[in-house]
Symmetry: C2
Subunit: 210 residues, 2 copies
């Protein structure tokens, strides 16, 4: 409660920083392995000729995700949270001091894989983007409502696996809208490049890239 109040103060500083520098900051959240890093890899290739991109990676341990992002050529910083289950706004503020992203750029933050705790920790982002894999089951919005309530956009990922799993897309969308009627929803496969143009379109609209 004190922890949340303190985090919100740092989040507000970050939010003001992003506004002052005309930056779009997105906080990518999901369960472990739903496809956050793969989506960022593909998104960077789709967008890097149009605008500057910076990435902040969060994981309990290892540099593995930052190393993957580094291969795309954009600046990236890895934060290891140790036992902690979420990135916090203070860590993001420090990362921004090191990264010094340019004006008018896009910041992608990949949070620790966790469908619970990151919903409570504002990082100062413009939007939370929640990724739900079709392999997890369509009832997740009801069972983990805080995260779907906090998000602006839900990406249903791994739709290439729909023939092999028990996932009803219509039902999942209905559950998600029950929790958050304003939630935008797109269906994608990050590995098979399905639905990526609609996702890039959402990004450009929110960055006013036209």
């Amino acid at each position: 409660q004190d922890i949340l109040a303190e985090n919100n103060q740092y989040a507000q500083l970050n939010r003001e920083y992003f506004r002052a520098n005309n930056m779009l900051a997105l906080n990518f959240v999901s369960s472990p392995g739903s496809g956050k890093t793969t989506l960022l890899e593909k998104t960077i290739y789709g967008l890097k000729n149009k605008c500057a991109i910076t990435v902040i990676e969060g994981d309990q341990q290892t540099n593995r995700d930052a190393e993957r992002i580094a291969l795309t050529g954009v600046p990236v910083l890895q934060i290891n949270t140790g036992k902690s289950c979420h990135l916090d706004a203070h860590q993001i503020g420090h990362a921004l001091e090191k990264l010094t992203p340019p004006n008018d750029s896009v910041l992608f933050i990949e949070n620790v894989g966790n469908l619970v705790c990151p919903a409570l920790f504002d990082l100062g982002e413009s939007h939370k983007v929640v990724i739900l894999s079709v392999t997890e089951g369509d009832d997740k919005p009801l069972k983990y409502p805080e995260m779907f309530h906090a998000a602006s956009l839900m990406l249903i990922n791994k739709i290439d696996l729909l023939p092999y799993v028990d996932f009803n897309v219509t039902r999942c969308i209905e559950y998600a809208k029950r929790i958050n009627p304003k939630l935008a929803i797109l269906e994608i496969s990050a590995t098979k490049d399905q639905g990526m143009s609609a996702w890039l379109q959402w990004l450009k609209q929110h960055k006013n890239l036209g």
Copy 2:
């Protein structure tokens, strides 16, 4: 830290209760949607003629998992954790007072879907069983080491999906053993009933059911 110390005191009371009643208590942990509830459904059918089973279900919201378990005919209690990301030992103690499981029985605890926080909260269980779905990626033991260090057994689930995903079983096992050399490992498909007899065997050995 105070929270953990207080939790450990309640955990110790639970552990003594389980020992006094000759109960095997298992804490099932995994990311959201890795197959905990499906595994419990199948396990109960495989075991209910041999010993008494009781289930405690943990989720942020809804009774959905407890309702699924109730269809198997065993006693079950649902705990909703609200914003909290894990079951704690105090909640388990209260649940035991309501459930009053018999001597020599098995208790299955399904924790909140979360690969981070439940590793820190001892419930007094005999063993943590971590379930990793092949859809999550084989590097999860390295990136979320606390959970794999805390577990006694890892179940690699959804092996029926191996033809369609990028998951190297050998590499995953090597990573897991790097984090926890004593970790037992089994490969299963809860929905296709693959690997279930080896899993039931592990259970019976640990319950001394012969």
